[in-house]
């Protein structure tokens, strides 16, 4: 169990943002306001009618204000997922 983000550095993480999007990528850095550097990132777009769409994005700086959840991804489990056949409601934005 990680108590700081330091232990996620250079690992694949999933970030859920305040607007309900899901970014996957390699955590390259962070600062005290949880601004994040995400390398080789892609976005996963969930839909109830078709499979998960993965959009390649590349290098990102995500501002800490906009981050809701950061989680480490188990790459072996993740690589076994069949995204074309996973359906799901897209997340809504964070409600204040």
């Amino acid at each position: 169990m990680a108590s700081t983000l330091e232990q996620y550095i250079n690992h694949t993480v999933s970030i859920i943002t305040a607007d309900g999007r899901n970014f996957i990528g390699t955590l390259k850095g962070f600062d005290q306001t949880i601004n994040i550097i995400l390398d080789e990132s892609h976005e996963r777009v969930f839909s109830t009618t078709s499979g998960i769409e993965q959009i390649v994005l590349g290098l990102h700086i995500i501002r800490g204000d906009n981050i809701a959840v950061i989680g480490q991804i188990d790459e072996t489990i993740d690589s076994r997922l069949d995204f074309a056949n996973i359906r799901g409601e897209p997340l809504g934005p964070v409600v204040h």
Binding site: F30, I37, D39, G58, L59, H60
Partner: protein, 154 residues
């Protein structure tokens, strides 16, 4: 690596900035500060729904309104070079401090001593502001010794 160091390394590179209100700004980064306020040039602004566009020669964006920035992949390698250069600079300065051999080092120490003899409080200020990067510090020392020599000349 700090996100703001990466942003600084991305100066003069093209980038996409999405704001919290959903608008996106495409342009070349001119400058940024520690609040992530940024200055873009040759900008195309796209509305939230993506069907309206505005061209503008430059714009300034308050950091707190930013959702994320998308940066060219190669920029991350340039930060590493920056960091390495800084470490190299620092170790070289430490060698100078440990002192002893080398004409360059002797000269370096002389500069330091002369600076110390001058105005003590002023000197401290200069060192404080310059300590952010080895390069700047070196510059300020050279500058200081140049000023000294001017004084001596008179």
């Amino acid at each position: 690596m700090l996100p703001l160091s990466l942003l600084k390394a991305a100066q003069s590179h093209p980038m996409l900035v999405e704001l919290k209100n959903g608008e996106t700004y495409n342009g070349h980064l001119v400058s940024c500060d520690s609040w992530m306020n940024i200055n873009l040039r040759d900008v195309i602004c796209t509305s939230k729904d993506g069907d309206r566009f505005w061209r503008m020669p430059e714009c300034y964006i308050r950091g707190s309104t930013i959702k994320y920035l998308r940066i060219p992949d190669e920029v991350i390698d340039m930060v590493k070079e920056d960091a390495l250069a800084k470490v190299r600079n620092r170790t070289e300065m430490n060698k100078g401090r440990a002192g002893g051999g080398g004409q360059g080092n002797v000269q370096n120490q002389n500069q330091r001593n002369r600076g110390g003899n001058r105005n003590n409080s002023n000197n401290r200020n200069m060192q404080g502001s310059a300590s952010a990067s080895g390069g700047v510090r070196q510059f300020s020392q050279n500058n200081r010794s140049a000023m000294q020599q001017n004084k001596l000349g008179k």
